[in-house]
Structures are given as structure tokens and as C-alpha cells.
């Protein structure tokens, strides 16, 4: 299936930069499986490490899908076990549109 994948969102004006990924996956699988494939393809790590006192803490990426055709329509995914087919296809060419936010978890 074709995925419109947002690789970054411009800080200045909030404009998403996206590319289309072609991923071989069944739509009855979980969105988590799809994100795993995207992590593999793009090389984006699933977590970032941070020294916290004497420990190393790992902070996960945050996952979003586009829920409407207007540009403000990104919604956070709380439940990664949901099926891929449960998510609306609201990309530029009606693909499923997804975004992985890598590092904002470190910002309070």
C-alpha cells in the first residue's frame, strides 16, 4: 500500500515535508506493524536515549496520522494495536498519511 509519510514538519511555518512510501503489508494488521516497517525503511530509531541521573532512560517516538484533508489534521495515535484499515486515508492522493515525531518527547 502507498503511504504518504511526513518526514518532518517545518518549525517556522508548520508545513509538513512528505514523501510517498510503497509498503507491502496487509491492512488487517496493526498500525504498529506498519510503523515497524517504516522504522526499518527510513532508519528512524524507535526511541532516543537520555542520561537521567545515573540511569539511561529511553523515550519513544510519537506517532500521528492525518485525520482530515486540511493541513491542521494530525492526530496522535494512542493505541498502536488498532488495525491499519481503521485509519482514514487523508493524504494528498488519498493515501494513508503518517508522521513519526522523533524527538519532541524530550521537550517539556
Amino acid at each position: 500500500m502507498k503511504i504518504e509519510f511526513i518526514s518532518e514538519i517545518d518549525d517556522e511555518n508548520g508545513t509538513p515535508v512528505s514523501k510517498v512510501l510503497d509498503i507491502d503489508i496487509e491492512e488487517n494488521l496493526s498500525i504498529e506493524k506498519l510503523f515497524s516497517k517504516i522504522h526499518e525503511i527510513t532508519g528512524i530509531p524507535k526511541f532516543k536515549e537520555m542520561k537521567w541521573g545515573d540511569e539511561i532512560e529511553k523515550i519513544s517516538c510519537t506517532y500521528y496520522f492525518k485525520s482530515s484533508f486540511d493541513s491542521e489534521g494530525l492526530e496522535m495515535i494512542d493505541d498502536l494495536s488498532k488495525q491499519i484499515s481503521d485509519f482514514p486515508k487523508k493524504g494528498s492522493n488519498k493515501e494513508l498519511c503518517l508522521y513519526i515525531e522523533e524527538s519532541r518527547g524530550f521537550v517539556n
Binding site: K48, F106, V107
Partner: protein
């Protein structure tokens, strides 16, 4: 340091707005209703909330609670870790000047205690050389390069978050020492507030640093957070 109110029909939001503009104290409203709707509409009376993707429904409120994804905490705010004194949104070009925290469920046994330091106390306590360091050296807050203390119209404001500084740039041993000395100075002037269920605290993000202590992973602590600019 604390002004207490109770949420009822007599509560005058204009008084609260004035207290926030004055900025020298933390405001606590007791018995505040525990819903996003109430919190959002109340804050709209005194300020303009910041809308973010990561908030509930992409709106103005974020649930500060333990949440894991891929077995890791989704963010620092979704962890049970001790969070050192900081400014929220330190990486924003325009940092919101107010924060509201509504306690829906406190942690158990005196854990998850909120702590604060006022900029006023920091300015009183800091040596001249420390003040110079704080006002001149610029630090990288993700994409924003700025000093920790800034003066505008004769009024100082503070922006500090060492986790952001350390996460997005390589810092030298000397800089690490500097950050440790800032932490020490800020901590020395800090005071604690133990939030109870129904307490809404409002404070200036540009005039206070805030943090919270560690709590048990299974405590179900829930704080609703809203950031806004006072009107």
C-alpha cells in the same frame, strides 16, 4: 508565594487575570471541576491557550500521566521520572507565558510533589558573575539559540530547560559544570507544593521555573496541563 481561591459562582476571573499579570505569586483555585471543557473555557476567559498536536484531541489540554509506547515512555511528561526545574516550551520561538496544572489524581505517599523557584529569588541570590553568565551566554534549545535570562522593558524573564539543551546539542564538560551550577542556584531557592485533587494552579512560565519529583509507576497520577498567554 501562593494566592488561594475556591471555584464557585463568586470567583471573579478578572482578579485572577490581574494576579497572573502581576506574576509574583502562584495562584491556586481549589475545587476546580475536573473536565477538559471546564478547564479550557476557564482559561479562555483569562488568556489564549496554545493548541498542540500532542494534546487531547489536538486541542489545548495535555494529560500528564504515565504512558508507554514500544515499552518506552512516550515523552518525559508521560514518565514517572523526577523532572528538574525548567521552563515549558523552552524551544518555542515565542514561549507561552503561563501554565495551568489541574490535579485530577495525585500520586501516593507524598510523591510527585511539584516544586517551583521564582525568578525574583534567583535574581536576589545570584552573584554578579553568575547573572552575567545567565544573561550573556546563549544556549541551544533545539532550534532556538538564546540566553537563560533576558531583559525586556526593564523586566527580566527566564527560559531554562537543561533536558532540551542536553538532548539537542553536544555540550562540553565546562558547559555541563555551568548547567550544574545553575541547577544548584535554582534549587536552593525552590519551594514545594503538594497538589490535591481539584487544585488548579496557575503560574507564569516566564517568571517561575517548575519541576516535580519522582512517583510510583503504578500510582495513576493525572495532571491536566494547559499552556496559554495571559490576555
Amino acid at each position: 508565594m501562593l494566592i488561594n481561591y475556591t471555584f464557585n459562582k463568586e470567583l471573579v476571573h478578572e482578579n485572577i487575570r490581574k494576579d497572573i499579570i502581576k506574576g509574583d505569586k502562584i495562584i491556586c483555585i481549589k475545587n476546580f471541576p475536573l473536565s477538559d471543557e471546564n478547564l479550557n473555557s476557564f482559561i479562555n476567559l483569562i488568556g489564549i491557550p496554545i493548541i498542540e498536536y500532542r494534546n487531547n484531541g489536538g486541542n489545548s489540554i495535555f494529560d500528564v500521566k504515565v504512558f508507554k509506547q514500544n515499552n518506552f515512555f512516550r515523552s518525559i511528561a508521560n514518565s514517572n521520572l523526577n523532572i528538574p526545574l525548567h521552563t515549558d516550551c523552552a524551544d518555542f520561538k515565542s514561549v507561552p507565558n503561563c501554565i495551568g496544572l489541574l490535579c485530577v489524581k495525585p500520586a501516593l505517599l507524598e510523591q510527585g510533589v511539584s516544586f517551583f523557584t521564582s525568578l525574583k529569588e534567583i535574581l536576589k541570590e545570584a552573584s554578579n558573575s553568575k547573572l552575567k553568565e545567565l544573561t550573556t551566554k546563549k544556549w541551544k534549545f533545539r532550534n532556538e539559540l538564546k540566553p537563560i535570562l533576558q531583559k525586556k522593558n526593564e523586566q527580566f524573564s527566564i527560559c531554562y530547560d537543561r533536558i532540551t539543551i542536553e538532548s539537542f546539542s553536544q555540550i562540553t564538560d565546562k558547559e555541563l559544570e555551568e548547567l550544574n551550577s545553575f541547577d544548584e542556584l535554582f534549587k536552593k531557592e525552590s519551594f514545594e507544593i503538594m497538589l490535591k485533587k481539584g487544585d488548579l494552579i496557575l503560574f507564569r512560565n516566564d517568571l517561575f521555573l517548575h519541576g516535580r519529583s519522582h512517583f510510583d509507576l503504578n500510582s495513576e497520577r493525572l495532571i491536566k496541563r494547559i499552556r496559554f498567554n495571559v490576555k
